[in-house]
Every structure is written in C-alpha cells, then in structure tokens.
Point group: C2
Chain length 120, copies 2
DNA sequence: TTGACATATTCCTATATGGGAATGTAATGT
DNA sequence: ACATTACATTCCCATATAGGAATATGTCAA
C-alpha cells in the first residue's frame, strides 16, 4: 500500500511545505492565484495544483471574481491538526519546567562559587 | 519530484494515522514494541517500521531493557506542528463567534414569530 | 469574433511509500 | 551450545505523488 493521498485529510495536505506557505499567505485575506505565484515565487500550474489539493480537503475556499479565482484559508479545517497536537502540549511544558529547574539550580550553584569565571 | 520523505520532518511523519496512534499510545509512558503491537493490532514489522520513521524525526526516544526496546513519545518534536496550527487559532475563533452571532440572530428572529413551529 | 489574460488540467517521470512475507540479529533461559 | 523471545531489516510491488512542459478552459475587451 502506498502512502495515503494528500487529499485524504488535512494532515496529509499540510505535510507539503508549499501548501503551508499558501495557507499562511491566504490567512489574512483572500487573494487571486497570480498573487500567490508572485508572492511565493512558484510556477502557476504548481500553485493551481496545490490549491486543488487544499480545496479537496476544505483547507481553502474559492470565489470567482471576473477572470480571477479568489482563494482564502478556511482555518476551521486546520483545527483537527491543532487539536491533535494540543494533547501533547502539557508534556513539553513539563519538559520545559524541568529544563528551567535545572537552569535555576545551575545559577544558584554558580552564585555560590564566588571566584567563578563567567562564560561569555 | 515525488512527495517529501516521511522522515523529512514531523509534519510528514505524523501524516500517517497509525503513527499518530503510536504517539498517542506512547505519550503517557514508555512501552515495549510488543505492547504497541497488542494495543493497536498491527503486525510487528509494521510497528517497527513506523517506529523507525518516528525515531528518524525525533518523535520518539528509545531505550533498551533486556531484549525489549522501550519507546516513548518525545512531545517536544510535535511542537513545530502545534505552533504552525496555532497561528490559525484566532481565525476559527472568529468564525465561531460569527456562527454564534448568526445562531443568536436566528433565535431572536424565531422568538418574534409567536406561532412558529419548532424544528425537532 | 479575435486576442489577451487568468487559471486549470493533462501528460510525463523519478521516487518514496506501506503492507506482506521472509529473514536477520540480539538478548535471555536452560 | 541451543532454543526461544523480542525486534529490526530486507525484498517485492502497486500506487500516489510534485515538478516541468504543454495544452485546455473560461472570462473579459475591442
């Protein structure tokens, strides 16, 4: 069995860095394809293809305006990814506290030794 | 050019559902491979291969204990994914408020019409 | 209608994949 | 030493890419 299709869900769709770039760019306001091409410096067909994938998983919405197609990010579709990762948040916070604790312990230890040379 | 390797970063590695299952399972405590096999009902070689990918991107850490290999999730490696998605959080919050507003407007409108039949 | 502009699709190809099956390797018990 | 347990790796294969090039579709303007 090959890898799951990029269009199978948001996880697979956002695995591609350029698609994340596009979503970042379209987050603030809707934009025509040409703007994406200019802003990200990609080939137009490449952008159209990425947009197709993003559309298929609902990560962007489209609207026609004359000859242009105005795309915008649908943040709601990113939510499942956010929520899955959020379940791990407390673990890296614990890790951070431990690191901070060790750093503080080291500081205390250093301030005990009066003649110590400070590392630059 | 084909798709980026699953081992190229956390985004690609967690695109595979089974790998997310494994990370969920290993989040609370370290476990030997056999436990993962039993818990998720996958073939042992399959689990070993997924673990290999997860190791390559630093999403799990390993430790040997006799003949077993004890794996545990390294939450820190999930952080980049969390942080990328977090940038969109305010957008779906706004969207939610808008949905709520519309729902409330609809409720108000409904309560104006006294004889209205309620949908079940 | 014809041409220009904006975007989408198709065809091509090298490549990485996940599963299945089989085999390899390392540590333990006797 | 040998069998057993616990994992890891290898080989095979059908399949879905992403990019490049070329072409198709759709919309407006004159």
């Amino acid at each position: 069995m090959p890898r799951a299709a990029t269009t199978s869900d948001a996880f697979n769709a956002v695995a591609e860095p350029r698609r994340r770039d596009i979503l970042n760019y379209l987050a603030l306001q809707e934009r025509p394809v040409g703007d994406i091409v200019d802003a990200l410096g990609l080939e137009q067909p490449s952008v159209s293809k990425h947009l197709r994938v993003l559309r298929d998983v609902g990560l962007v919405h489209v609207r026609r305006h004359g000859r242009q197609m105005l795309y915008r990010t649908n943040a709601e579709a990113i939510r499942p990814v956010h929520e899955w990762t959020a379940k791990f948040e407390r673990f890296w916070r614990h890790q951070l506290t431990r690191i901070k604790e060790r750093a503080e312990a080291k500081m205390a230890e250093a301030s005990m030794q009066e003649g110590k040379i400070k590392p630059d």
